[in-house]
Symmetry: none
Subunit: 219 residues, 4 copies
Amino acid sequence: MTNAQVPSSEAADERILVAAGKLFREKGFAATTVREIAQAASMLPGSLHYRYASKDDVLVALMERGVRRAIAAVTKGIAATRDPVERLKLGLRAHLELLCQGDDSLYVLLYDFRSLPEGAREGVERSRGRYEAFWDGMLYEAWGTGRSRSALDLDLVRQFGMGAINWVATWYRPGSGRTPAQIADAFWTYLAFGLMGEASRPADVESQFQELLTKSGEE
Amino acid sequence: MTNAQVPSSEAADERILVAAGKLFREKGFAATTVREIAQAASMLPGSLHYRYASKDDVLVALMERGVRRAIAAVTKGIAATRDPVERLKLGLRAHLELLCQGDDSLYVLLYDFRSLPEGAREGVERSRGRYEAFWDGMLYEAWGTGRSRSALDLDLVRQFGMGAINWVATWYRPGSGRTPAQIADAFWTYLAFGLMGEASRPADVESQFQELLTKSGEE
Amino acid sequence: MTNAQVPSSEAADERILVAAGKLFREKGFAATTVREIAQAASMLPGSLHYRYASKDDVLVALMERGVRRAIAAVTKGIAATRDPVERLKLGLRAHLELLCQGDDSLYVLLYDFRSLPEGAREGVERSRGRYEAFWDGMLYEAWGTGRSRSALDLDLVRQFGMGAINWVATWYRPGSGRTPAQIADAFWTYLAFGLMGEASRPADVESQFQELLTKSGEE
Amino acid sequence: MTNAQVPSSEAADERILVAAGKLFREKGFAATTVREIAQAASMLPGSLHYRYASKDDVLVALMERGVRRAIAAVTKGIAATRDPVERLKLGLRAHLELLCQGDDSLYVLLYDFRSLPEGAREGVERSRGRYEAFWDGMLYEAWGTGRSRSALDLDLVRQFGMGAINWVATWYRPGSGRTPAQIADAFWTYLAFGLMGEASRPADVESQFQELLTKSGEE
DNA sequence: CATGAATGAGTGTTCATTCAT
DNA sequence: GATGAATGAACACTCATTCAT
């Protein structure tokens, strides 16, 4: 639970996180043993505990790394353009590529949050909140261009998009049809323009939006 | 005459599944002990094993029930109308209400699939496939009305929508702002009409669709 | 531990003992479950306990029956002649046939004595002692004829012979070479005349050897 | 300098086997719990499993040791002479002394063979076969001297003798009358010359009988 | 600095036995 | 008289963690 890493030999720390990430993704945190992680990192359980005081600590470190890498990947991905709408598209692509191809830490962050011990949850939640705020910023800028519909609830929209994109990790298999980038781009068009033909859009659709999407009363 | 108040066999089975569902949802399958399930179901571990031969069997039974209940809930939900597009909307609502309010079995089916033992995976996958096929049917009928855009990949669209809606379960907290039905309806408009204003839709968007959404080769 | 059989429906009692004997012989008492016995006797564990108060009781009943049947079999076997030495030979034959072909109760008596609960050991030991005394009687009568060597310790001789013959049950497989009767007769000649020095043997003994000890065909 | 007093790994392994041997002999494999073995070896169940992956593995290791020790003991015992017939006598003595006084592993090998898990049976059977072949070799050499009777089936003779001698372990109690060596020697004369017909015996044999077979002091 | 043998609390599961029907 | 659902103590075994070296 405490930050027990020693400064030197970061390569060993890294090996542990990589091994843990792979196993946590495949079998989940609780079903993975410290022995398995150690073995996959070519060491013994005692040596693993020398670097991370507990199995929980490995999870926390991995998740924190997940947030860091996600922010880094998306930041890098959107640097290619200044068009806020285009940045959304590139951001989705970067996020999904990281999630599907790059690294297991983002997957574990998203899909093993339950396994966090009580005490560490708040800290990781805060880190994760930073990533969400990062997306909110991108969305806000895109909205600000006036090209998006008004009356959209930012939080809900983020959850909608992130949900769709994160779910890909549950069914995507490498080398089967589409690349993550292609999937991300397809999803971006769904998000942007919807699935229905414009012709069929009922006239009163905007009023429905007003009704549905405005936050309908805080708790 | 004797059919009342007797804690019948099915009632005990049910109590186990309800207790297991709640715990699996909260902590995950692997982190939940048989003792906890038994205690939550007001029995002893031996009694639980009398009904389910193993902890794995409880998981499988719960997941199979998740599929059954989801199909039942959506079937009932869409019965109110014959309009295929409207049915999609009602179906989403029914699915999300079940996922967030009704029952933990659907949640466990979606979020603990990894925990299934090797041997049971195929069977549950088949059941789950039936539910997906059910949605594919609804989507296909909606497409058939001509109101939807052409060139959409059915499978990808389902994963897109189901991902967005299933993800709600990871952040939704009862009594905090929106009801599941409201969220589902909002998501339906996002799905149907997209997030961007129509005005801004680039002229070449349809050709992009052709490029992106048609299955792009590879095996 | 107590004698809980009810008088009627002895067929059910019998079915239990037969099933238990078979299982105890194959896997040992401790490795056999009451459920297995009950199932092999076409009943449920509750019904088994209705007839025998405990698993231990089944073992005791089975062993007592083993003694009874052994005495009966040998008594019947030796009735064909009055020659005490011949009676020894016939007795060995009867004992081994019962042990190998007839009944599992004698086998269990001999090879699962360790499993008897403290309280029942004495009783079964007494019964078993009756069978041993029965053999001592036969041996004594044979000795009394003057044809056996003097200075033989009766007890030691019995243990010698019974050991050799009982051990057959650990390696004998039905239908593989010799019948139990043939083995018993061969062993009788070993016992009677030893393995060494044919020169000093009575003339008529050698023809018996030829007949008995040459592998008598079969596969 | 550091090789003293350290409770080395092998010592712990040994303590486990000794404890297990004693318990398996007394109560049988299935009736002995891992906790009992661990306690008798002054450790906890977890520590026992650190050394032997399963209870079955303890049994297998014990049996393999039984074979090894039996071969070693008999080999050592027969080294005193080159007379093949005398070697048989010394071999019997060594075997019975090991079985009754030395070590529980040979007893367990002989009397808990049923408890071997399916997968390990073949391996132990092969080891055991080596010991039997060892005896067959001794028997064959004794036969080769021409002093034994012809027409004896080697396998049957071995089973006869081994049965008689192994059975001793079921009734022998230390300090009650005869030593294992005395019993073995008595059994050797039974085996060699049989129980009947003193008239035909070589002259010097009878003095042996007097010496060996008279009860040598009650307890 | 790193190890790996050892630990013991806790896991999923078994099973002889009970008892309401 | 006979059943079978239910029990709970006990089972073999696991595993995160410790600590002497």
